[in-house]
Symmetry: C2
Subunit: 216 residues, 2 copies
């Protein structure tokens, strides 16, 4: 197809498509004449991935370039590509980790070992967890680690549901796009559900439900 | 205490403390002479809350002003203050919701009713959930709603753990600060754990463990 049709199919404007080609995010079309190029289904899929990373993931153009390079590298396994694609989307804090970071890292490594997770203790997710635990400790909530197993149980449940979905609904060539979208939107969905569940718990603890319970 | 000691106790610089007073985030100290003010424990707690909202929550000064106004309003119940404090921290997308938003809102209201949650279907969290579901649908993953109950189960488990922690470890005057910190850092902790659990699941599905399993 020509670039105009690619634009219509994907909802991405022609100048933006050209920008993605210049930036190395999207392969150039096949030249059919000196000033005309032809695009295929792979371009449609790639544009969808780019828009998902940009709109849903909030990634920078530089970060997206890293993801598509991993996707395009035949030497990388699906497992590695999934890690490269979803690794940059770990929520991070701008702050430097404080003094307790080494101890927190040991705690995270211990948790991973105790749960039997095949996950590297030096992965970005493990580091993000350690940094968050240090931040909690710094604001006086170091004892929160006591409830970490409840969080890990919930994370296993959600990860199982995610993989079940992937196994039943996702074609192999769309695996990376789905992993990116699912990782980011799954976070948003879970955090929204967690707040709804908090509202319910807060209502029962501090709201009218609690008052009604006290009177009854 | 004088402003210098308040600065040392909280790690917030004197000019920054003065900025917070000018912006209405921190009450002014009690004047003990025309150019000297005295600060108390309430100022220490308030500065911790402001730093938590800023550093951990990533909130703007304007958003923090809204939170501290809710905290200071005696007409608001603890339940309302918790909602006001944690409401602005629902992750949002910049995009406008697409055409399916009304249907998604009905789906969210149905989920809240089915789970028996005391949570309003027009709350920011419910709206954030509806927007995320529309975004999923737009990228071709509308069937993801099938696994939403697994997410809701996990969210209930985490919310229970959060409230257990609050009930056992948090003094009433620190409830709002803890709710803010716990809401934001809890999201970060959960998303990091979810990624670690994904790595484990991906390894078993696509990695060496899967290959080993196939050979055995």
């Amino acid at each position: 197809m020509r670039i105009g049709e690619l634009s219509r199919r994907t909802g991405v404007s022609v100048p933006t498509i050209k920008f993605y080609v210049r930036e190395g995010l999207l392969p150039a079309g096949e030249l059919t004449s000196p000033n005309q190029a032809s695009y295929g289904e792979a371009h449609v899929r790639r544009l969808r991935l780019i828009r998902a990373l940009l709109d849903v993931g909030g990634l920078s153009v530089a970060a997206i370039r890293g993801v598509v390079m991993a996707v395009d590298d035949p030497a990388q396994s699906v497992h590695e590509v999934l890690g490269a694609a979803t690794g940059p989307m770990v929520p991070r804090y701008d702050r430097e980790p404080g003094g307790g970071i080494e101890e927190a890292r040991k705690g995270v490594a211990g948790l991973i070992a105790a749960r039997g997770w095949q996950a590297h203790p030096s992965s970005p997710a493990a580091e993000a967890l350690a940094v968050a635990l240090v931040a909690l400790d710094e604001v006086g909530h170091g004892q929160f680690v006591e409830v970490l197993d409840a969080y890990a149980d919930a994370a296993e449940g959600v990860a199982r549901a995610d993989l079940d979905y992937v196994a039943h609904h996702v074609a192999r060539e769309e695996l990376v796009e789905s992993a990116v979208v699912g990782t980011v939107l799954g976070d948003a969905i879970f955090s929204a559900l967690r707040r709804l569940a908090h509202m319910d718990a807060s209502d029962r603890m501090f709201g009218q439900a609690a008052e009604g319970g006290g009177a009854g």
